[in-house]
Every structure is written in C-alpha cells, then in structure tokens.
Symmetry: D2
Subunit: 478 residues, 4 copies
Amino acid sequence: MRTLFDSRPHEECGVFAVHAAGADVARLTFFALYALQHRGQESAGIATCRDGVAHVHKGMGLVTQVFKEEHLRPLVGDRAIGHTRYSTTGASHLRNAQPYLLHTIHGPVGVAHNGNLTNATALRQELLAKGVGLTGESDTEVIAQLLAAPTAEREPDWEGRIARFMAVAEGAYALTILTPGALFAVRDPHGFRPLCLGEVRTEHGLGWAAASESSAFVTIGGRFLREVRPGEIVRIDANGITAHQAPVPPRPPSLCVFEYVYFARPDSRFEGQMVHQARQRLGRELAREAPCPEADLVIPVPDSSVAAAIGYARESGLPYNEGLMKNRYIGRTFIAPTDELRKSGVRLKFNAIDQNLAGKRVIMVDDSIVRGNTAGKIVALLREGGAKEVHVRVSSPPVRHPCFMGVDMATYDELIGHRLNVEQIRDHIGADSLAYLSHEGMMRAVTEGIRGADAGHCSACFTGVYPAARRGPPRSLP
Amino acid sequence: MRTLFDSRPHEECGVFAVHAAGADVARLTFFALYALQHRGQESAGIATCRDGVAHVHKGMGLVTQVFKEEHLRPLVGDRAIGHTRYSTTGASHLRNAQPYLLHTIHGPVGVAHNGNLTNATALRQELLAKGVGLTGESDTEVIAQLLAAPTAEREPDWEGRIARFMAVAEGAYALTILTPGALFAVRDPHGFRPLCLGEVRTEHGLGWAAASESSAFVTIGGRFLREVRPGEIVRIDANGITAHQAPVPPRPPSLCVFEYVYFARPDSRFEGQMVHQARQRLGRELAREAPCPEADLVIPVPDSSVAAAIGYARESGLPYNEGLMKNRYIGRTFIAPTDELRKSGVRLKFNAIDQNLAGKRVIMVDDSIVRGNTAGKIVALLREGGAKEVHVRVSSPPVRHPCFMGVDMATYDELIGHRLNVEQIRDHIGADSLAYLSHEGMMRAVTEGIRGADAGHCSACFTGVYPAARRGPPRSLP
Amino acid sequence: MRTLFDSRPHEECGVFAVHAAGADVARLTFFALYALQHRGQESAGIATCRDGVAHVHKGMGLVTQVFKEEHLRPLVGDRAIGHTRYSTTGASHLRNAQPYLLHTIHGPVGVAHNGNLTNATALRQELLAKGVGLTGESDTEVIAQLLAAPTAEREPDWEGRIARFMAVAEGAYALTILTPGALFAVRDPHGFRPLCLGEVRTEHGLGWAAASESSAFVTIGGRFLREVRPGEIVRIDANGITAHQAPVPPRPPSLCVFEYVYFARPDSRFEGQMVHQARQRLGRELAREAPCPEADLVIPVPDSSVAAAIGYARESGLPYNEGLMKNRYIGRTFIAPTDELRKSGVRLKFNAIDQNLAGKRVIMVDDSIVRGNTAGKIVALLREGGAKEVHVRVSSPPVRHPCFMGVDMATYDELIGHRLNVEQIRDHIGADSLAYLSHEGMMRAVTEGIRGADAGHCSACFTGVYPAARRGPPRSLP
Amino acid sequence: MRTLFDSRPHEECGVFAVHAAGADVARLTFFALYALQHRGQESAGIATCRDGVAHVHKGMGLVTQVFKEEHLRPLVGDRAIGHTRYSTTGASHLRNAQPYLLHTIHGPVGVAHNGNLTNATALRQELLAKGVGLTGESDTEVIAQLLAAPTAEREPDWEGRIARFMAVAEGAYALTILTPGALFAVRDPHGFRPLCLGEVRTEHGLGWAAASESSAFVTIGGRFLREVRPGEIVRIDANGITAHQAPVPPRPPSLCVFEYVYFARPDSRFEGQMVHQARQRLGRELAREAPCPEADLVIPVPDSSVAAAIGYARESGLPYNEGLMKNRYIGRTFIAPTDELRKSGVRLKFNAIDQNLAGKRVIMVDDSIVRGNTAGKIVALLREGGAKEVHVRVSSPPVRHPCFMGVDMATYDELIGHRLNVEQIRDHIGADSLAYLSHEGMMRAVTEGIRGADAGHCSACFTGVYPAARRGPPRSLP
C-alpha cells in the first residue's frame, strides 16, 4: 500500500531564526544549524533581510559543506532564518532546498519549514487552479505562495496572513518566517513538530531566536526561554518577542513522541524536561516491564540508545558497558560497497567490541525498530563478537503505522511492526529474546518529567490513532 | 624551546595494504581507510599496481570527500595501499598527501607511512647532497627516494633495499609499500607505531592485508591475524604472507602507550588485548589511586574517555551517566566563529546535559591533558549546567615531554604538564580537585591484558625517557 | 537620467527549440547553443519533456562549462528548448538563468526568452497583486506565470494562452516554449528580436527547430526554412510545423537593425540575406559617404567589423589588412588587472600588429560606438604601433538613444553619442578624422539585400523613434 | 612506424618569466600566460620565490580557469615563472603540469619548459640508475633533477649547473628557471623553440621579462628587447639582464619554421620581423608559384591563414573575402557530438558564409596540411555553401616528416604528406586543384624580412633534414 505522500519530500528538518541588531546573524545561524545537523543532512540554507531586500544561500550537503566565508558575507541584515533538511529518496534536488524566498505584493518573504502538510496536494491544486505556477514539489513553496495571496480586509499584516494560512493548512508545520520588518515563529495547532524560543547575548546587546531544539541556543552561547505553543504566532523584532494564539480552533496538543524516543538531541528540552532524562526513564520502564535478570551486561546501540541503556542498567542493577563501536565519520560516501560488504551491511557503521562481549549474556537496548533492516545484523555482529546470548530490549512500542507529520516512515509496507508480530520479529532478527516497551510505559516515562500544563503527544506511529484525522490515517485524502 | 621538528609535518596517520587477486582492492582500501579515518582527516589516498604500472588518487579532506566512483575506476590491480593523514599546521598541502609514488630503476614504488623519522633532516640532507631533488617536505618522499637508490651486491631485491633503508633510518615508521610484484608491511625496530596483519575473504578467494589498526579488517569483513613485529619486513603477494626480521640491531619493543590512552579505536587490538578493555582498566586503576567517594556521579568526556569512565564508575561503585553531548558532525568548517563563540570555544563541540548534572558532585573522567585548552572550558560548562562540584580525574599521567615519534605534541612549550604542576593545573582549569593516574598505574592497566611475550612500550611523553635516544630527547640532532 | 529598466536584467539572449522524435534532442540543443554562444555568455540551460514530466539543467558560464555528459543524460524526451544568456551587471544569479520551468494547472511549461517586455513592471505588479509570488527578477518568470493563469472559455489550449499573453505584453520577445504536447516559437507583433525555423535530419528521421539565428541549424547539420513572422505563434510537434497569426493588432515590422550592425553572427540570415553581405554593404556605403582617399590602408576592429572593412576597402580601392590582433581565449577571468593594465585596458583584448601599421595612414573601420570606452584606446594602440594617421570610420550612425527592447545600452547617460557631437567624439577618441554612416546609408545597405515583402526595422537607438511607443521612449512607464 | 616519443608528452608550450621588484609579479605572469594561451590549453601554472621559499599554483585547463584571486595571493616575491601547456593524448595529468618545483642542495628551483629533449629517455635512465626516483613522465622533471645534481669544482653556481645540463641535453628546450637569487632564460644551442627578452614598466620601476613570444610583453604593457640567442644563458635579477653563451659547441641556428607558418601569434616577432608580415609574404610567394587567375575570390581558413590569404589576394589581384565563420568560443567541451555531427565534424568549428561563395570559383588558402582530416571537410562545406570550384592553396610545403622538437606531429603514419602525393591529396580532400608552396618559396618569404645576422631554421618536418641528428631522424635512439 503506497500513499499519496510517497512522491513528495518528507519535511523532517531543523529550522532556526534569529534577530540580533548589529550582530553577524548569518554566522550565528550557521553555528545553530551545525547544532541542528542531526535533523537533516541533505541540504542547508540561510536567508537574511536588510532594507527590504532578501538574501539567501543554500546548497546540497552538510552545513559545513554548503557554507564558506564568501557565502556568509552577502548575507547581511539584523535577522536571519536557517534550515537543514533531511534526505528522502527521489526528492533530492537543490530546488527543494530551503529557506524558500518569494517576492510578494507584501514584500519579500522567506520560509523555513519542518513538518508535512497533510492537505498539501489539495492546497497545491487550489494554487494551480488560481493560476499560480509552482517551481518545485515542496510544501514550503505552497506555504510561501499562500502567504503571497492578496490581503483581505481582516488580514492587514503578516500576522493576519499567517493566520489565514493556518486556517486552511492541515497537518504538521513548525515555521520560521522572514519578512522585511520581523521574524515569525509559528507552530501548527497540534504542535506536532517542536519549536522553541531563546535569547542570545552578543556584543551588540540582546537578541532573540527560535529553533527546532533548544540545544541550538546553547551552542551559540544563548539560552532557552520557552516553547512556542501549539497554534501560536510569535513575532520577533527589534522590540523582542510578542506572541498570540492564531484565531483557529484549538486542537489537542500532540508533540511527536518520536522526538523523545529517537529524533531529538539528548541535550534538548521539551515540555520542561531534557530528552536524555526522558530516555533514561524509557530504559527504566523497560527494565521494569521486561527484565532479563539472567543477563550479564547491558549495552546500547550507539548513539541514540545510550541514555535508555543507562536507565535500563541502573534499574536492573546489571552492569552497563559498550559493546559496539560506531564509525564517527558520518557523511555521504559516494562509493558503493562490494557485494560482500553490502550483505554484511552494518559493518561499515558498527564494529563489535569482542572482549566486552565474549561469553556474555548481553542485553542490547535499542530505541526503536522501524524497518527491521539493522537490528538483525547487529545481533549477528554481537554473536560473532562472542556474545553467548543476545536479548533485545526496545525502549518504545512496535512502530505499526506510518507517519504523515514529517518523520521518514511513510508506508505500512516498510514497517516490520505492521507486517510481523513480536515473536516473528524476534525470529527475524535472531535474538534470544525480544521485548518492546508498552505504550503505557512509554507515556509514563515521557510524562513523568513534564513541567507545565497542557502537554500532549502524537504517538500515532505506535497506536494508529492520528490526532489530526477524524477517521483514521489521512491516506484517503484526494 | 622549539625544536627542529616543528617545521616538518607530523606523520600521525593510518596506513593500509591489501592483496586480493581478482577483487576490487581499491574499494576494499576505501572502506578500510574509512575505518581508519580517526587517524587523520587532512588527506587520503589510494595507490594500486598492475602490469608494472602504478596508479594513484589522493586529495585533501576526509576519505569520503576525496573519493568518488570515477576515482576508483582507474585504480586497477590485485593489490593496493592506502593512507589517511592527520592535519598539522603549516604542512597542509596536497603535495604531502600519500601514498607517495615514485618511478625508480627498480620499477614503480608506492609508500604509505605512519610515524616520524628522527633523523629525517640528516637523511634529507644526504639525498640532496647526492643530487636528488625533493618535491615536498614529507618523510615519506625521503623514504621513497632512499628505496630508489641503486642496489648494491647484497640487496638484490626489495627486501634488501628495505633493509638498507632500515639500517640508516632512526625513529618511528610503520610502512605499507607497493611494488610491481608484492606488497610490504614494515615496522621500525622499536615498533613505535602499530601495524598488524589480517586476512580478507572475497568472492575471488582469500586475500591478505596490513593495517595500522585491526578494526580496519573487521570493517571490510576480514579478520585480524597478528601484529607485525618490531623490525620485521612482511611480504604479501599471491603466495600469502612471508616475513623475516630485518638484519638490523634489535631494540626494546616500544609501542606508543598513547595509542592505548587516546589515539586508537576502542575496538582495535594490540598485544592480544582490545583497547576498550585496557581503557576500562585505566579507569579502574584511576579509581583506586584517586577515589572521590563523596561524589554523586561519574561522567566521561566523550568519546575517547567513555571506557575509562565506565571502568572508574564500576570500580568506585558510583553511578555512570552522560553529562556532555558531543556534536557528531565532524569535519572542517570553513566558517570562523564570532568573537563570543571563540571565547567560549568548547560550545561548538560540547553541550552540557543540565538535568543530569544539576546539584550533583561530578567526577569528570578525561583520558589525558596535553595543552590544557579544553579541560577548563568543559569544567566551566559543567558548572553552568548545574554541577555543584567538578572533580577531574585523568586516566593517564601528566604529559610533560614532546613526542618525536609521530604524535602531534611536538614542543615543551605547548605542554601544560611541562609548565605547571598538578595543583597549578587544577587551578588553571577551575576544578574542585584534579588527579592523574600514576605511570605505574597506567602501565599496570596496560600490561595486565597483554597476551604474548616481548611487549614493551614508549611512554616518553610522560617520563622523558626516550627509547631511541641514549642521551635524552633527540632534539639536538643536526 | 536613469530609467526603471536599469535594475532589471536585459534579456539579450539566444533561444533554441527542437522536436526530433527518437533523437538525442538535449545533445542537439547543446551544440545549437554552442553556435549561439555569442548571444550570451553568462548562463546556459536546456529543458526537455517526456510523458508530461519536464527536466532541466542550467548553470552559470559558457555552455561548455555548464554541461557535462552526466547533465545531458537525464534530459530525456523528443523535444527540448535551450537558452544562453548575456551578462548584465547586478542580475548575475542562477535564479535568473533560463529556461524557466513551472508546474501549472495545464501541466509543466518551460520558457526561454530573448527580449525585454517594456511593461514588465506593470505585469509583475499585476501578478503580485493577484497573489502570485515571484522567485526572481526576470521577465521570463513573469511570462511563465502569465501562461499559468487559468484558462477562460476562449483560450482552451496553449495557443490560446499564448495569445492571451501577447494581448497584454508590450515590448520585445522571441520565445521558445516547451509543453507536454508540443513546442512553440513565438515572436512579438513588432518582431523586434529575430527568430527563425529550420529542419534537422537525424538518423531517426526529420525534425524541426527554432532558433534566434539560422547558423544554429547549420551547426547541427540542419537547414534554415524561414523566419517566424512578427506576431506569429508557431507550433512544432510530431506533425511538423503549424502556424498562425496571434489575434492581436498588427504592428509595423521592426527587426532590430543592430543585429545587422553588430550583434548577429555574419553567417546568419535575416530577411533573405546573410549578415556578412549586409555588413559589406554598410562598409561600401560608408566608403561612398565618408571617403578618405589619402589613406594607405583599411583595417577592421576585429571581429565584428571585418566584413564592413572589407566592403570599405573594396569600394575605396584601398588595400585591406589586419592591424589588430584579438586575444581569442574569451571567457571570464577571475583575476583583476594591475592598475597599469587597467589604465591601458584594451591591451588584454587587442595588440597592434606594428609592422602592418608603421608609417601608414590608417582607416580603422568600427561597426559602432556605444559608450566610447574602447575606440580611443584602440586609436592610441594604433599610434603606438606606428600609424602616422588614424581615421575612424563607423559603419552605423551615432547611438544616441537607449534600447528598451533587449540590447544592453539602457540609459542616455552612458551613450557617448547622446552627450557629445561628432567633432567632440573625434577629439575624445583622438582620431585624425571621424565619420559615421548616415541613417539613410545604413538603411540603404540593409534593405538592398532583403528578399521578400514586409520587412521593417527598429533603429530607435539611432533615431529616438521607438516603434512601440506613441510618445517617445517608454521611460515614463510606471 | 611508431617512435619511442609517442608515449611521452609533447612539450609544445608557452613559457614566461618576470623580475619586477615590488610589483605583483604573479598577476603580471597571469596576464602574460593569457597572451600565450594559444601555445597550450591543457594546463597552466605560476611559481614565485621569496626569501628562499618557492610557491606554486598549477592546474588543468585554461589559465583563466586555473587561477582565481585566492590562488594569486600566496604567490609572493619579486620574480615569477609561468607555463601554459599543450594537450597531447595520454599525458594529461596534473603531475605533468608546470612549472616543476624541486628542493635541491642548492635551494629551491622551478623550471618551465618548451620543447622536447631527444635524449630524454637516456637522461631519465641515467637519473634512475644514479638512484634518483622520478614522480612523472615529463622532460621538465628530468631537467630539474639534472640541475639538482651536486656541483663540481667548475660549476660553482646556477650558470654552471645550467651549462652542465646543456652539455648533456640534446634536442629542443626553451627554459625559464626560478632560483632564490635570480631568474634564468635558456635556449638550446640550435634555438629550436623561440624565447625572447622584454622589459616591463610598473609603478615600482623597471622590470625584465622573458617569454616564448614578444606579444606577451605587449599585453602586460611592456616592450620587446631582443631574442635569447641559441645556446645563451640569460640571468635576470635586481641588476637587470646579464647574458653569456654556454660553453657548449655551437650549432647551426634552427628556429622552427612552423612557428612562422602556423604556431605563433601574428603579432609576435622573431628575427626582427613580425609573423603577420612573414605570413603575408608566404601568401605572396604562393600566388606567384601557384596562381589561379580564373578564380573569383580568395578566402582564408580562419584564423591562422588570414595573413597568407591577404598576401595571396594582394599579389594575385583577386578580391579577398571571408567564406567561413569560425566559432569563437574555444575551450574543451565535455559533450560528445551525435553520430551525424561526428561525421560532418568540421561544422562545430566552421560554418560557410553562403552568400559570399554562391556561384564563385574560390581559392581557399590554408597555412598547412598535417593530418589531412580537416581540409576535405572544409572543401565540402564550401561546395555546400554554393562554391562552383574550390582551389586549395597551402602556404607551406607538404608536411612529410615527424617533429621531435616539440610540435605535435610525432609519427610518419599520421602525416598525410608522407602517405600520399599531391594529386592523391587533392583527390582525398576533393579540391578542384591543390598546390603547396615550395620549400624555396617558404624560405624566401621567411628570410626576406629577417633583420640581423645569423638566422637559421629547422624545416625538418618538410625536408626530413634534422639539424640535430647526424644520421636522419633521432627515432633510433635507445
């Protein structure tokens, strides 16, 4: 079963924005994107605005590959937005790189977007029918062209036009928007994708910023202030931060729980807690639900499972150690592996640390199993390394449903948790035992650390209950 | 005090060689270099030989940046050598990239080199005086030109010419050499730099390989056989591996102990043990020598100190956790940080994981302190993150003496352990307490796991006792 | 006096289109653009269409720099359009490179454009006001977005939509348009910029093509058929060529006379004659109007004045020779000249051939004087080379008025013919005598060779009589 | 019959050197190489020297492609040498690019070379036998390594070492040499390849230069002084120019006559005359020897035959005109032509100017016929263009013998003049008549304009009489 979303790029990305009068905002944005690099390695871009003229540089690759000093120099202005973009098959074109810049009747506007509009096809069709030609396939161009529409009576300004967009858009979007007079940070009414506000102190004084994750502020010497609320439109300009709720119907808060499980940096903060601590608790809950007292050792699948493995080890009282070495030199290789290497596959990414494993009954903690391509190979690697038994413990439930909100798991077919039950998966990956954390356990671990009121989560990939849809997944949209 | 070595590039590198008839040896070498990337990110290269004609491609940057499919295609033959090179100031030129290829009266020869010849200046001068012009500054060209010299009666072949080179060379060298008929793997009589042998099974049958570290074999689906012995000349050809000791005076085995402490991959093996286990024991010894029972938490400075911190935590009974997040997206950035960022410095590399630190008395385990530029900044980061106390424990002794054998710490001036005593360093880095592992403790941890006879180590950077020199460091050489 | 056109790119370009079922149309287009390279060296691009999906590659630089085999490979289909673009200050961005591709409600459309819309600002404003955001500054995007507008009753197809565009567009445009079902070649009702039709015979049979100049057909082994008529819409598809006049008011034919004087290749044909012959007659008329019987020698300013100089020499009976050597290695240099070189300026482009000049009274034939920056320097060069006298003869009248139709001479201020009279110009360039061809002489030379009826020309840059405007130059447009 | 030279690169190049204290010598060299670009388009390079340290940048492609501002910046010093290199099959590697820089016992030395050593293989073998390894295949490295040899009693300085090289070298060499204290310009005792001296006036005062052709001086605002004499060693330093004859046996002066016929720029000067005038006389002699009074028109094959065609037309009294348009946009294309285009071949380079040819009996003047691949295609093009008859007149004799001195015509097999007689060639190219200039006529034309004593020429490619060899061509060398 393939859905209409397959042919469109997944907007699983990092966004950023900063206003800091007098400072080198493009440079600050560069280093912030560097901190958000894990959210997308396909392309990167920065846009600035001065005196009503917008400037942009974007390119394919890591942010360090896309930018040299000569590219930062023309990016003048007191405010900037930036974007780093995930690679999904078939949509790897420079024309889909962001930020997307457009000349409009209201002046230039730049948009950086994280998420997926579930009604993008319909919105796109409406634009085309109105006579607006589109240059690429991305949701971001659709958003920018919607913002370019002429202003009705009751939308005299950018806030009004953004609200108008929010009234017709469905799905997930965390946006940073650049206009001649201000920056905007906007989050969809569900708050599917994260977005937060921070302040940056430069030699020219105080500035304000927005980012997908709070760790971007820390990297550039700033600090986290608060999250952008679901449905909120935040304006950032020389006067600082002003915010209000968009006049759209409120929806249940639905932060993507997969950000806690896997996607976000451990040192980022959502809902008043750090991701690392939530992950430790995921490990703790997993140890309570699925103990394995006869084991000798708890090891993580690096790097995303380290915190959960520490939590599991601590709760279980079993020793924690490393059993796998991960090759740190990430970045696309243009070289195809030999047939032998392709078969083993996982070797280019992981080596076993044999002496830590030899003769041991090992608990391997993994954060999630999506397609099931890797786990089995790692189990085999551990056995070759001498492990006597390998017990796999997963710090989230089986992924059984596609995500339509911006995470790259788009079809039922590709999800091993949809096709096989737990025992079949155990057999498939060759583990001595396999246990997943329950949905209740996961939510208990996540919510325990939350500070503040109305938190809420989307865990549709685990449950099939899609917050945005009345009747199941939105795959039947026109 | 600056020494004559400062103006020359430090040959702190990874080398590789493989013979596998019928296989795509350049591709195997590519992936092996990928596994050795931590030994040098400045440049990379691969050379092959077929029918007496040598081919080479090399370039600046990571191995994944230097090679595309079009570069591998012309690299035909049954054997290849590869090299990945560390960046040291002032010597970052393509002309110093390796392997170094030379047409000689004996046919083409290619050389990949790890280490530093301590009498390179004298050898260079001898070559120049004989009328041999040199194209660059590297030791490797000197080695290749020495091998190009005409053959005397008693050196009728490559083994003879290699032995002749070894008779005049002083210092550290681990070489892979490519000739029309064979590969050679050669290690200096002290065995300063590591070099080992492995086998690789391809669809075309069995092949043999040499590498700076055994993890390179594992990455390409092969396995470790044994180390090249100090002073040994190993020939690899269609008949497999044949080896003999070079007719040079034996020297005390002196494997660089810093490979255990910091430089090598944790999953590599030297002297019968894995580096990860040696590092755990370094942490264990450190916990015994320098306990800190009042602390709440043991954290590593990632990534090189993780094993030692696990060892320390286990021995001390204190909980282990992560307190620092390291930015994974390594690779040169061409963008200069802002002044503010430059001052904070360490932020671009590390963020604190505040909630793990808040209110805690933290033991920060670091593998070594060389220049002292980073440790103080990390201590400050941990305090900002909320740590109540920061106790620094270093799993090696103070580095007090330069290395002339290929590690990038070349002058007394730059070594904080030479300029300050332990209390002064503690004050400099702002720690609540600071303790180093003793030399005895370090050697106990390293030697405990050794399997096999005549091991021996160079720890001159800690002790000032240089194995190769009769009278102190070789800085008075002409 | 600067006009509103200054901030917009001048669309002085070469366009091409070819339909040839089964043939490698992108490759044919590449070589056709190579033949049209003199019409623009800033950027180049090719678009194709197959099964309703459009493909494009474009980039900055010469066509040989923009295209490698890997770029041609994805450009599949039975038809292609191509574009090569002139560089004007301030508009040198990839986003202005052509062809411009757009997804529309009618399917994908690609546009390649030569010329300038004189009401582009107004059309642009109308689009913005309708809510269409624009990504760049080029007229071409405006044209494409106008074609993307929804179709009214009476414009059921592309012909209809093109006619609708022609009804609102003013100024100069020669277009090639790519749609899923056909190619179109379109020329504005004045026929300001040239456009012609040809046929190409490939191993797969007969194909049809359109190009700015007929020499493009010859280069790819095809042949010239006829010119596209002013106001004509020509459809090219599998059935060959079908054409009709757009339902817009006819205008007086106004082919740019500067194409004859300077811009076009000598081997191209307009209005039934080759440019080289027209230029020879320009020289002949010049010799009749402005003889110089006391001179020894006629030399051209290479390359564009060669034909006129030959015509002048033949008519006057004076010997023809070369007196200037032009550096053939055209292409942008990224290196700034030294101050001395900057002052002499013309030396990097021309050297004098001294021995041909020494002691001679030289007639230097130039095709036109626009800004007057170069002529004076060449006169000085000839004197340094030994010329006793230098008599400048210009084979067109003084350029006194800006062009708004696509030639890069956009403001009164920059035109030396507007600021100075002939004697002042003679003094400025340091010639012994200076004479221009009269407007009558120019038109006599051009029209003498015309075959076929309704030819007509725009010579507004010489006369100030703008065919498109009722009341003088269109510089007062909003 | 293939010779040993086939596998070696042909050193048909442009060389340059300049000393100008305080000036930006690398920039001057850049523009000089730009003027020498016709002598080689494969690679380009510049080397400078300051304080005993040499700097170099070189790369593949046109000089404008190889150099950007960032490459000039590090090229500091008061003197520079430069090189531009011709492309011959199989030797197109960066490692063969020049200048070639070498560290020697005498300090750094840089060499730029035009020509071919006929005993390079033997010299190379001697170097290898002495134990000098060689990095590439070029003669230039051989020359540099010979200069690096230790100094005997009687060669205390660079002049001595250069003389020593000249004593063993055979064949053609025009060299510019860079040393820490001076530049040298050196020409072999035959003076096969051209080399001349000039002066350059910069804002910092007077400087001196050497170049393959005098037009390079003019381009950078300097002036020609004199030619370097065969066998002369010219030193250029802060004191200006000092020169002496090398203590080697004098040989008959043998400037390559093909420089006059085809290779050099028309505005360059050799032996007191400009090449353009010599070429006009070649045309004059040709008109006398091979008139064609029934013809209507004389046309050149552009660009190298223009001067000869002018001379022919003037002598014959027939009108001169252009009949072929040459595509000016030179530079490698990476795109292979279609089969149809490949067959026609010449179309991508030339188009016919039909209206000048229609119904005419045309004399097509070509400077030379080497391989015979092009002439026949041009004749066909002229006929298609309407020419009634095509009479080919060649302003040099048939090329019947290979060149071993640096021009790219290396084997007997490839020379149509060796395989066929004149009537057979006429038939092969499809001309109505064909006539070559006689050897006597050519020498008369060339020598008539010579100013100064001992001129002499190599015309071995026409006669088979090789100045350097006692017994025929040097193809039997070991």
